[in-house]
């Protein structure tokens, strides 16, 4: 299956004199993390199925600088930002879709004043528009009636007020969308943001991802849907440490859609 995916790079398209409609910003997790790579591929399969004319930067992509900025290293952030902007502008990129809310937030909100102005959408928003335009059709099939809860990634929800797109996609699967105790504007963080992903947590009486996993378990959901590779990792670890891996799955919304279509 994996050989059947088509992932053109900007360099390749440019050499052929072609211009893509949208750039898929894969992000570091999506490129290197084993779990997140599956999300990347699921999204690409959906893009291929909808015949979207897209490209990736491939080896020309670099970290947006989000974890550096939030750790306090503004210098490193701006260096990353400016070199990325240079690449993006040289290809005259207009529209970007990304499956990482951190990349989404950074490119959308923090790049413009540094010279990088693009239309940026999260992959759940992009998938919703594909469905609306009829380029992609989804039939619930195997997810029909399943209890699914959506964990709002901080930088998608609270950070940028995107709450509906992922939920509408889940509802398209004919699944039963249930909400956790804290959701949407008041959603509880998975514990990874602000560069916490890359360090041990400070001393406390519980890990944040465990607290969030407990809220998800209280919702009695069979599937925790995520929209962020970091949230995905944190919640997967949470479910594992609760020894619930067999009864609760953590899946990206794109994976749910791709799987429903048997891609």
């Amino acid at each position: 299956m994996s050989n059947s995916i088509k992932v053109p790079t900007m360099a390749e398209l440019t050499a052929e004199g072609k211009i893509p409609d949208v750039l898929f910003w894969v992000g570091c997790a999506g490129s290197f993390d084993d779990r997140a790579k599956k999300i990347t591929k699921a999204f690409v399969k959906l893009l291929n199925k909808a015949s979207v004319n897209f490209a990736v930067l491939g080896t020309e992509e670099g970290c947006t600088g989000d974890p550096a900025k939030r750790a306090g290293n503004e210098m490193l952030f701006q260096m990353q930002a400016m070199s990325n902007i240079e690449v993006l502008n040289s290809y005259e990129i207009k529209k970007i879709v990304t499956s990482c809310p951190h990349c989404f937030n950074t490119i959308k909100n923090e790049y413009p004043s540094l010279g990088g102005q693009y239309q940026v959408v999260h992959h759940t928003q992009f998938l919703r528009s594909l469905l609306e335009e009829g380029k992609l059709t989804i039939e619930g099939g195997k997810y029909k009636g399943k209890r699914i809860t959506f964990h709002d990634p901080c930088y998608l929800g609270r950070g940028n007020n995107v709450y509906q797109a992922p939920r509408e996609l889940i509802e398209k699967l004919d699944a039963e969308l249930v909400e956790m105790k804290s959701c949407k504007k008041r959603g509880l963080c998975c514990g990874a943001g602000g560069a916490q992903m890359f360090k041990e947590a400070e001393k406390g009486d519980k890990e944040i991802n465990i607290a969030r996993t407990e809220e998800a378990m209280d919702s009695k959901a069979e599937i925790i849907a995520a929209g962020c590779p970091f949230c995905n990792t944190m919640l997967t670890d949470g479910v594992k440490s609760k020894e619930k891996s067999t009864s609760i799955k953590v899946m990206d919304v794109a994976e749910l859609l791709a799987d429903a279509e048997d891609l």
Binding site: C63, G72, M82, L114, G159, G193, G194, K203
Partner: protein, 441 residues
């Protein structure tokens, strides 16, 4: 005799307002110790935010019980204070219930003040029970011990006393009206205090006049004391909520400011044409400000105003994932520490003829520990929760910026992450050339 009381009243009023004005001046001076920040764009949106969030209490009702009780106290306080206008006119000119010529409308006003006063007393009693008997978790954090706890209760006592004085004054007045006492013409409706009036009417005219006058004086003096208490209290939010929301950050919460001082350096670094040893052009020489914040003077003035606007409700802390899981971080404490340090700096300036004398202390370490700063996930739950749009996160990030860019004092794992980004453009040690390997896996 009448003139004596009018003069005394005028003096009390001048003293009360004058002392408050002096403290207000000090408050503005302290806020201006912060760095400049331009926040006067998008004015229509700013007015709208202020009207919805401060005037309209939009974010208070996210928690319905506290929200509705707070609205009662807030509306009661504002509306009952219309009565203060009449009290001031009466006090200065020796009149009595000067606005009673409004007739039916006056009756309506006084009647609604009375009902509100009763509702305020009920709400305040519930607030007191929540703090002292039910002991809600968010009121019990370490930063709430000592003065902050007393402060909260003092405010509640003050409000009850003021409302009781208001109703007592009206009750005695009503009794005197019934008795046909001179100067006490029939005016006002007393839906609440009439019951109190029934109890005290038998005391007789002279006692009633004494009660009415005492309550009247204590009420207005109490209001002036309360006004002056604000500066020393978290209760300052009743004034600062308005400018604080007007000057809020209107960008999406996820957006963090880009530091301009860094931009110029990075541009210089990345420009192959730039001469790193070039002398700064004339007129271009400015003090290179330090990166980030280690003390209150490194924060911007909006962050300092935020600190004075905080009323320590703790909604930020109760929504904070780090705080919920037992870490030392409490966004409310970040704000309280900033205010306490700013007050300390302000007092230092007052004591040293207007010039700050180095005191060997700073916000970082002496007030806010590194452990607190590094526990933050930048999730913005605190910012979202604040009913007056305070942003504790921006202070946390500015202090991290100081730690990382001025002191290279990030936790080791974060240094590794940043080294990876520098070397291979990813937070993990993977080669950038392998970035597309997933395509063929």
């Amino acid at each position: 005799m009448n003139y004596v009381s009018q003069i005394v009243f005028a003096l009390v009023l001048i003293a009360g307002i004058g002392y408050f004005a002096a403290n207000l001046k000090r408050l503005i001076r302290n806020i201006r110790l912060g760095r400049d920040l331009e926040r006067t764009d998008r004015k229509p949106e700013r007015w709208k935010t202020m009207i919805l969030v401060a005037l309209g209490q939009q974010k208070m009702v996210v928690r319905p019980i506290a929200g509705i009780l707070h609205i009662i106290v807030y509306v009661g306080f504002i509306i009952i204070n219309i009565e203060v206008i009449e009290i001031i006119i009466d006090g200065l000119f020796g009149t009595h219930r000067v606005l009673s010529f409004l007739g039916g409308f006056y009756d309506f006003l006084i009647g609604s003040f009375e009902i509100l006063a009763l509702l305020v007393i009920v709400s305040v009693v519930i607030f007191w029970i929540r703090r002292n008997i039910i002991k809600l978790r968010r009121f019990l954090f370490s930063e709430m011990k000592g003065w902050p706890k007393s402060d909260a209760n003092i405010i509640l006592y003050f409000e009850v006393v003021l409302m009781v004085l208001f109703l007592t004054m009206n009750a005695a007045d009503y009794s005197l009206q019934q008795l046909g006492s001179e100067h006490y013409q029939q005016a006002g409706a007393f839906p609440v205090s009439q019951y109190l009036s029934n109890l005290i009417t038998p005391l007789g005219e002279s006692s009633l006049i004494l009660i009415e006058r005492s309550a009247w004086w204590l009420h207005i003096v109490g209001i002036l004391i309360f006004l002056n208490y604000l500066y020393y209290s978290k209760h300052l939010h009743i004034l600062l909520a308005f400018p604080n929301t007007w000057f809020s950050d209107l960008n999406p919460l996820g957006q963090m400011n880009n530091m301009e001082s860094v931009t110029s350096e990075v541009k210089l670094m990345m420009d192959p044409e730039a001469d790193p040893y070039a002398m700064p052009e004339e007129g271009d020489e400015q003090d290179v400000a330090k990166f980030g914040a280690s003390d209150v003077g490194d924060l911007n003035w909006v962050q300092l105003m935020n600190a004075y606007s905080c009323t320590e409700c703790g909604r930020c802390t109760s929504e904070c994932p780090a705080s919920q899981t037992g870490k030392k971080l409490s966004p409310r404490k970040i704000m309280m520490d900033t205010r306490d340090r700013l007050e300390e700096v302000g007092k230092n300036i007052d004591a040293n003829n207007g010039v700050f004398k180095e005191d060997g202390k700073q916000l970082l370490d002496d007030y806010i520990t590194r452990e607190e700063l590094w526990a933050c996930t930048t999730c913005n739950a605190c910012v979202e929760a604040c009913p007056v749009n305070i942003n504790p996160l921006s202070i946390i990030v500015d202090m991290r910026r100081f730690l990382v860019m001025e002191q290279s004092a990030a936790p080791m794992e974060l240094n590794n992450m940043m080294t990876n980004i520098e070397n291979n453009a990813a937070p993990w040690p993977y080669n950038q050339m392998d970035r597309l390997n997933w395509r063929n896996e």
